[in-house]
Symmetry: C2
Subunit: 111 residues, 2 copies
């Protein structure tokens, strides 16, 4: 399961990440929120953990999972070259860039 991209291809995994986006949760909480079998949650969490999307803090018998941004950032970065397709308010400009090719260093801090 190499790439970060493949990891978020799985809907349940996205759901888990979505949940954790708002705040950290224990496995049991995730299980209940998403109504998915505990064993399944644990497995997905393992994948997410090994890919660096989440990390766990041990708290008594439970493990509280939280987001780790790096892989998501990587994905965000990959999207960069495409942003001009919807960021460019001026259509003409976009068309222009299209044939002038490489000029993708669109300086201006977008985000």
């Amino acid at each position: 399961m190499e790439s970060s991209f493949a990891i978020i291809g799985e809907p349940n995994r996205r759901a888990i990440l979505g949940l954790l986006a708002s705040s950290e949760r224990s496995v049991g909480e995730i299980e209940r929120c998403l109504r998915m079998p505990q064993t399944s949650v644990s497995k997905h969490l393992r994948v997410l953990r090994e890919a660096g999307f989440v990390e766990a803090r041990v708290e008594a018998q439970r493990r509280v999972y939280r987001i780790r941004p790096e892989p998501l950032r990587e994905i965000d970065a990959w999207l960069a070259p495409f942003r001009r397709f919807w960021t460019a308010r001026v259509d003409a400009l976009e068309r222009h860039l299209d044939r002038m090719s490489k000029g993708s260093k669109t300086g201006r801090g977008s985000r």
Copy 2:
């Protein structure tokens, strides 16, 4: 092959999209640039096309493919709730937001 996320899970597909990000290309050009069998390119393009990532213009015997932004935008949108994890320069602010919840419109960029 439902979701847009699953689509970009495939490395070759990302490569194709990456190529098209700079400018539109024919199947043959993609084939040569990426050194991947034509039949494979065509299949991936089909998947990308059906998922709305690309569209083709017919030009004589060749089909020139170009990016269609929508699905990529969808992915970009999905990332939104996570951006605060790396956008927040001030750690304290982030912690704060964590319990104050929604306030993610972090507009103002310095630098």
